[in-house]
């Protein structure tokens, strides 16, 4: 009789544990701050065309279409043949999210700086101007989405992104 009772008790414990997960110990969808590594901030260069990772904003100029890849740079698409547009290159701009184009010049944010990139020779893009601290940092204290997040540590630097991950016992919430 007794072993049966113990077994039932253990079973009940498991059930209760399973039925009432405790947030403090559970895996939770959580926004995790991504910090900027200062060393690679100004590493702007032309790379081969690549697959889009995080689809960002778009711009059209003449026969060229541009698309940001969040925090990575700008895809360049040749649309000279409207029936068959093709990716031709990727302009690496660390922590870029916004841009506009005029003539052969791209105005883009490089973290919080405004940079002007001369693409008259697309194979050799040149940063011709940089206005430092043109823009304020955003989303430093908490992610733009509501929910659980890992509390950012200012000592670790500037927050450039928030990534959704599964985290045990996140401390912050809004």
């Amino acid at each position: 009789m007794k072993p049966k009772l113990i077994a039932t008790g253990i079973g009940l414990c498991f059930c209760l544990y399973g039925c009432f997960p405790d947030r403090r110990y559970a895996d939770t969808d959580t926004y995790v701050p991504v910090y900027m590594s200062p060393a690679d901030k100004s590493n702007i260069f032309l790379a081969n065309a690549r697959t889009t990772e995080k689809s960002g904003k778009i711009y059209a100029f003449g026969n060229t279409i541009f698309q940001n890849d969040l925090n990575k740079g700008i895809h360049i698409i040749d649309n000279t043949n409207h029936a068959d547009p093709k990716k031709i290159a990727f302009l690496n701009i660390p922590y870029n999210t916004e841009f506009a184009v005029k003539g052969n010049y791209i105005y883009a944010n490089n973290v919080n700086d405004l940079v002007v990139i001369d693409i008259r020779d697309l194979n050799n893009p040149v940063v011709v101007k940089r206005i430092e601290n043109a823009f304020p940092y955003i989303n430093q204290e908490y992610p733009p989405q509501s929910g659980y997040f890992v509390c950012p540590d200012p000592a670790k630097g500037i927050v450039v992104d928030w990534e959704l991950q599964t985290v045990k016992s996140p401390k912050c919430h809004r």
Partner: protein, 246 residues
Amino acid sequence: MNKLLLYMLLPVVLVTALRCEKASVASATTGSGGSTARFAIQGNYLYTVDKSSLKVFNIADIANPVLKNTVPVGFEIETIYPFKDKLFIGSTSVVHIFSIDNPENPEKLSTAISPDVIRRCDPVVAKDTVAFATLRTSGPCGGRFSVLAAYDIRDITNPVQKGTFPVSEPYGLGYSDTALYVCDRYGLLVFNIENAYTPQLRKTFTDGWYLDVIPYNNTLICQVQDGLTLYDITSCMKPTLITKIK
């Protein structure tokens, strides 16, 4: 003989009438951004919006932008859309309308408020007499339901919401002649806006998560979640797929 000529010409006239006039003709020196952009170029000026302010850069010397002005706009600014001598600035609560008659000193004309939705995201586009905004209430924007809203802006100092259309989770938008393209979590919606204040839904493409659009000449450039989708919009109410670029 004349009659024969008439019959021969009639189909040509009909086809021409059905094709859409392109409101925006892109020249060699003007580009175009999406409705969710924070950077916009109008003439010799680059306008940018951050969370609370509008910045004006003179780019007459194209390689050498010079910051000319910083204008406080409000809270939670998200987007900027230039149209002629106006800037339409979307925030999570209202649309701010600025005059750039004096391009270095944008002057606030009015604020468009939707009485239906308290808190939302507001990408906005405008034509001469109407402005359209999508008011999304999911995610960071709060609120309870999402709509496409049409504002009468004939009196630019007093924009009035004239009509709304429920949309599940809208993002950016753009127009070409009588067609309004609205991005949604569940597809691309094509509205007829011949009666601008009462958009009529005519077609839905349910092939992905659309985030923003640029109608550019005869091409509709769409930002989708995994890259780009391009449509031919020679016939603006009937977009036909050109390609998807990932």
